[in-house]
Symmetry: C2
């Protein structure tokens, strides 16, 4: 599929609309007119997001022997951000317009294709379209959000909301590595909120000031850094395709020298073909010994690995850093499908069952039929012990199926007249729409089998 | 057990020490001298915390038909906090000492028993002990952390880090209730970080400036508010005992009129007998129609329930608001036990299996025996698909058992000489220390059965 075809097929508007309609994602503080590009996750959004995070933690920690989990604070000692280079270098070059008072990223001004030069507040104004724009010289603008904590003395302590979870890992290197009883390579994985004062947030969940990261710092012998850098690019690509992203919608783009962050000796972006075009989904960086060396210098605590035989060195770090929200958006976009079935339009999320917010729906065909409702409630009570399932007796059965399709529920069990005669129910497959009958007593085992088995994407490449 | 006996039995120092020793919890930013009372969760802490949150969400959402999940942003439109009353009323009365420059809560100064009057930075100084203290008149100090977002104009927008997750629920009331297709009573549940600029944080995880909440807002017909208030006190008590807290370590304390928050017409604390004495574990508040009415007034959007028959009213709200960190601390304290077994000291966390970070350990008796290691690895690989299990071949078997006891692993499977002969392994029970043999092929099913079955606390009341 070409980029143009992709953009044509699934628009961001359709995704935003589905998310709103089915309660995945709402604009935050909407009754107060919102707050820039901030979003709240509704019921199905929470379930989907929790599944994305659980699958990541599973792949990083539970399925491996060499990575442990961490959850560090959002507000760290401010010295951390001096050592990391963020106070000095985590900046964007900005220009202000003296006429319209808007602010732009200086490095985006000359890029007429780039939507991000539009100010979020007044999208109709744009440099080049507004001849009266009178721009200042570029100035560096730090993207960390600041706050003040403590109550000793009037001023308190200036502090930052972390712009990345990674530094919370580095400053715990000594604590964790002493306990982990492991020789490099080994890693520390963390999921949590980060904050960046983005000048130009936008594109729905793609760029927001408050966002959630899934970062893992992998500490390796210096000579093996390049090898592990390649390894983690492959691993992370594999994670996305394992959970249903089409390989043709993923590509790896290596940063050129000018793009590299201040800490990085090599970075590759895994890009996804979003409706806005190819954009960063996850970055894999070779951070070298930058961070451990900086924190050693600033804290006075030696952050190095010491072997039992006295061997010692500063490990190099390979970092796969993904975004929870960006992943979720990619999974939604890739799962989104519209088709005509029996002359009716159908929108369906072909989500991997391990990501689907609801694993199965239990539906009595006729919601006023007490016997059917009784059977359906019984099955529902049995399944909900252990599975995220939903009971729905509201409206015509076709409408209920479509609602489940739109939230990506892979299976539906329907209780009908025949159930009352022979205790069989139908199982409906979200993707193929195939229906077959099975004994009601075998539903739980069948569902467990379907959810634990291999899943083949039904999506055309 | 009396409060005095409790304080004697399990000290906070023992809990802090175990958490540090086994990597549950570290002081945050430790290599930089920490940051007040901030903590980072290590590997087992993350797993335990995730289990606490999962059990809460299960009890609130998956096991019920009347509650949906939400995950709103930490930084909301600042008008939210004007409407909620937090800008005006979320304050502590503070006094400063002109001599020592320390700041204290005015309402704690006269309470000589109360540890919280100690300043976190200089615990040796204390009003009353320092005759030179020269106190100012009390002033109101707002406990919300402030920040500034956006880049249009120099100033940006003043904003707050939420001091409670609840308001994110209220401002989404209309969005969620339209989609949830439910008649009150129904609820919205949320887990997430909140921030309060506590003057006197302390007592380990009990009071920190950055903490995680589990809050649920339950919207009910006004006439039923009192009934549901009582219902939720019982429900929440039941959740703590279901996961292993001894009933004798829990009590309900109703706030008197002076204590009530500005929004509340009735609040009860579920208190736990921490090593520091009876202290709040969770609050259940009857918030009346305060929040929906305030947001209706400030936003101009009517937040009310409208029935299909045209009936309309502003629901009243019952709020069970628990702390993730406080719950985790209570579960740890209640599980902590020391005993002498075969003339050796043993520390054991008698955690409920559904909370335990690791469900089972797989241990080859002799770690240099390749055949045993091979069998053990094989079993480990089988179990880790679906269960949080750990493989350990480091050190003497007794030491490995003690390590698993200290992190609360309920079961251990040991591969020994006999395994090589008849393919049986031993299962060791953490609490009773009973060991029995079972076929290696039956381990997975046995573990699943043990984890899904009822669990009886082995803890003396």
């Amino acid at each position: 599929m070409t980029e143009a075809e992709r953009t044509d097929a699934v628009t961001m508007e359709k995704i935003v609309s589905l998310c709103r309609r089915r309660g995945f994602v709402f604009p935050s503080s909407e009754i107060y007119g919102g707050l820039g590009s901030a979003y709240d996750y509704g019921h199905y959004g929470v379930l989907l997001k929790n599944n994305v995070k659980a699958r990541w933690l599973e792949a990083m920690v539970q399925e491996r022997d060499d990575i442990v989990a961490l959850d560090s604070a959002i507000v760290l000692n401010p010295r951390v951000w001096e050592a990391s280079g963020h106070v000095q270098s985590f900046t964007d070059p900005l220009v202000d317009c003296r006429t319209c008072k808007l602010r732009f990223r200086a490095d985006h001004i000359d890029d007429p294709e780039h939507d991000e030069v539009r100010c979020g507040r007044k999208p109709s104004k744009r440099p080049g379209e507004t001849p009266e724009c009178d721009l200042t010289e570029p100035r560096q603008f730090n993207m960390m959000l600041q706050t003040r904590i403590g109550a000793v003395e009037q001023s308190g302590t200036e502090a930052y909301l972390r712009p990345e979870t990674a530094q919370g890992i580095f400053v715990n290197f000594k604590n964790v590595s002493q306990l982990a009883r492991r020789t490099p390579p080994f890693g520390i994985a963390q999921i949590g909120k980060s904050f960046r004062n983005e000048i130009t947030p936008g594109n729905f969940l793609f760029r927001t000031r408050e966002f959630e990261q899934m970062e893992m710092e992998y500490f390796v012998p210096p000579a093996e850094a390049e090898e592990w850098y390649r390894y983690w690019i492959d691993e992370r690509l594999g994670w996305y395709t394992r959970y249903g992203i089409r390989p043709s919608h993923l590509r790896v783009r290596e940063h050129d020298a000018e793009e590299l962050s201040h800490y990085s000796s090599g970075t590759s972006d895994i890009e996804y073909l979003y409706p806005i075009g190819w954009s960063e989904l996850e970055g894999i960086a070779n951070r070298g010994d930058y961070d451990l060396t900086q924190h050693t210098q600033f804290s006075g605590t030696k952050l190095e690995w010491v072997g039992q035989d006295g061997e010692r060195y500063v490990p190099h770090v390979i970092e796969p850093a993904g975004g929870v929200d960006r992943s979720l958006l990619a999974f939604l976009v890739d799962a989104y499908d519209e088709e005509v079935v029996a002359e009716r339009d159908r929108t369906v999320l072909r989500l991997h069952p391990a990501l689907a917010p609801v694993k199965a729906a239990v539906l009595p065909l006729i919601s006023k039929d007490e016997a059917m409702v009784g059977k359906a409630r019984g099955l529902y009570e049995e399944l909900r012990r252990g599975f995220a399932v939903e009971y729905d007796d509201g409206g015509a059965i076709g409408r209920r199926y479509r609602r489940q399709d739109e939230i990506g529920t892979p299976y539906a069990f329907t209780i009908d007249e025949q159930t009352l005669e022979d205790d069989t129910v139908t199982i409906r497959d979200r993707d193929s729409l195939a229906q077959e009958r099975l004994p009601i007593g075998g539903v739980r085992a069948r569902l467990a089998e379907l959810l634990s088995g291999a899943w083949t994407t039904p999506k055309p490449d």
